[in-house]
């Protein structure tokens, strides 16, 4: 039921537009995968489209250039992509061109780093009594 398509970055926006005209009314999900040291190029954006009229899903995968880390935004086709693209920017540092407001969404604004990258540690810290005041 689910079909997967691999497209290039420069065809990506056009391709999504074609699918939108083709009856894929809803963008269900947009996320990214970090293939750190496993694959080249490193980042892959995964878009999940749903056609309610045809009852079909389609998964579109785009490889992102390591140098620019950028991909066109699809908020002009699916307004619902707004939050998802901001989330991917926040978590992976992928830049969406022509996005109306590309800011951090889940992390505080002054956060350094992109947490879901594989080279970002999970931040596991030994917590017990870390800053506890000394008891006399």
């Amino acid at each position: 039921m689910m079909e997967t398509q691999q497209v290039e970055v420069n065809e990506y926006h056009e391709h999504i537009k074609t699918l939108f005209d083709d009856g894929y009314e809803m963008m269900v999900d947009l996320t990214a995968v970090d293939w750190f040291r496993k694959k080249e190029p490193r980042f892959e954006v995964v878009v999940n489209l749903l056609s309610l009229s045809k009852n079909e899903r389609k998964m579109i995968k785009v490889n992102i250039d390591d140098e620019t880390l950028s991909i066109p935004s699809i908020t002009d086709i699916y307004p619902g992509a707004n939050f998802y693209e901001r989330e991917v920017y926040d978590m992976f540092g992928i830049i969406f061109e022509n996005h109306p407001e590309l800011t951090r969404i889940l992390m505080p604004d002054d956060w350094i780093g992109h947490p879901l990258r594989k080279d970002y540690g999970s931040g596991r810290i030994p917590v017990q009594f870390k800053n506890a005041p000394k008891v006399d």
């Binding site: 009314e25 009852n55 307004p79 109306p100 505080p108």
Partner: protein
Amino acid sequence: MVKNKENSEDLEFWATNSEEGGWNIASTDEGSQKMNEEESDQQLKIQTGSDVVDDYFVEEETSEDERMIVNMGPQHPSTHGVLRLQVELEGEAVRRVKPVIGYLHTGMEKTGEELTYLQGPTNTTRMDYLSPFFNELVFSLTTEKLLDIEVPARAQTIRILMTELNRVSSHLVALATGGMDIGALSMMIFGFRERELILNFFEKTTGLRMNHNYIRPGGVAADLPDDWQKDVKEILKVIPEKLKDYDEMLLDNPIWQGRLQNVGILTTEECLAYGITGPSIRAAGYGWDLRKMQPYSGIEKFDFNVPVLQESDVFARWRIKVLEILESLKIVEQAMNSMPKGPYKIQDKKVTPPPRKRLDESMEALIHHFKIYTEGFKVPEGEAYVAVESPRGELGCYIVSDGSSKPYRMHVRGPSFCNLQALPVVMADSPIADAVAAIASLDPVIGDVDR
């Protein structure tokens, strides 16, 4: 442990311990996530909720003095958690809205990459804390799809039974908190009272009232308790009666109708554009339900209807939840009567740990048990996306496996996350009193938004 906080030096220490690796408490500025007086045209369109359907209406030009930006949340009783809204008001009317989220960001997707597939439901169940079974179900279904296994019929029916009861309890909370926000305080008491009945059954079956970790890859954690039919029958008897009480109280109540009808209109077109599914799109006249369209876990065997309303306002979104509870109870009744016999876990040595009794007898069983619980089972390389119909819409799980016993990437598509994008649509251009009703009708769960 009781902390000593008598002198002011200590309090000072709590507030500014950033030198020793603590947190910088002073930073409450939202920086670039702030709503500005002047925004770009596209931003203005999004914040006034008119970028899909332009039904935005301003009576007359008002001076700048009458406009003010008010902060609502994150600690606010009617935002259902820690949602924060920046609202531009013009007198009593809401002009622009900007949701700010992330105040409950728990890093579950990162934690999910560190847990094995068997531990995964422990993590995902805490995402949407009002419908924990759905989170477990979607994670388990995705793992099972990657493993290419089919769970036994009894496990499937137990899953359906539990998730549909969970839909009832989740909708009851939505009705309760929604009522409270609008001022129908009795609704709050009623909703939570009836929910206790279902939670007692959950506690009996799974051991916990919430966050059960009951549905796991390969089946469910335990069989149903003895004489479980009695409890389910009690639920089936009591809840429809109480729903009648709600209807008596609210359905023809002129105040309730006046507060909710023609408020917070969310049309089908907007639902499609923002990716909103679930009760909201069904209240807007589009009968899309994944249980019918893309059935999972054998739900196609059950006979039920999908209620659809046309009004697409807050009243319809409230009404459809009541109707869905009745339909879910139909499924529960059928599941109870048609519960198959047999194992509740898949009999596959690779996935299922041996039963507890075997551990005392067999060395191999002990090793096998130890391996499964420490190392976990390996899942073949690949990726899968599975979606189920949660009480708030399409709940999807996307797992990328690299052949090890932990997911390489685990992403959950929470329905509340994109439902929140419609807040400007339902809130803008209406009095601020209606705004609260509109938030409640979308029923956002912030744990699902921020994950």
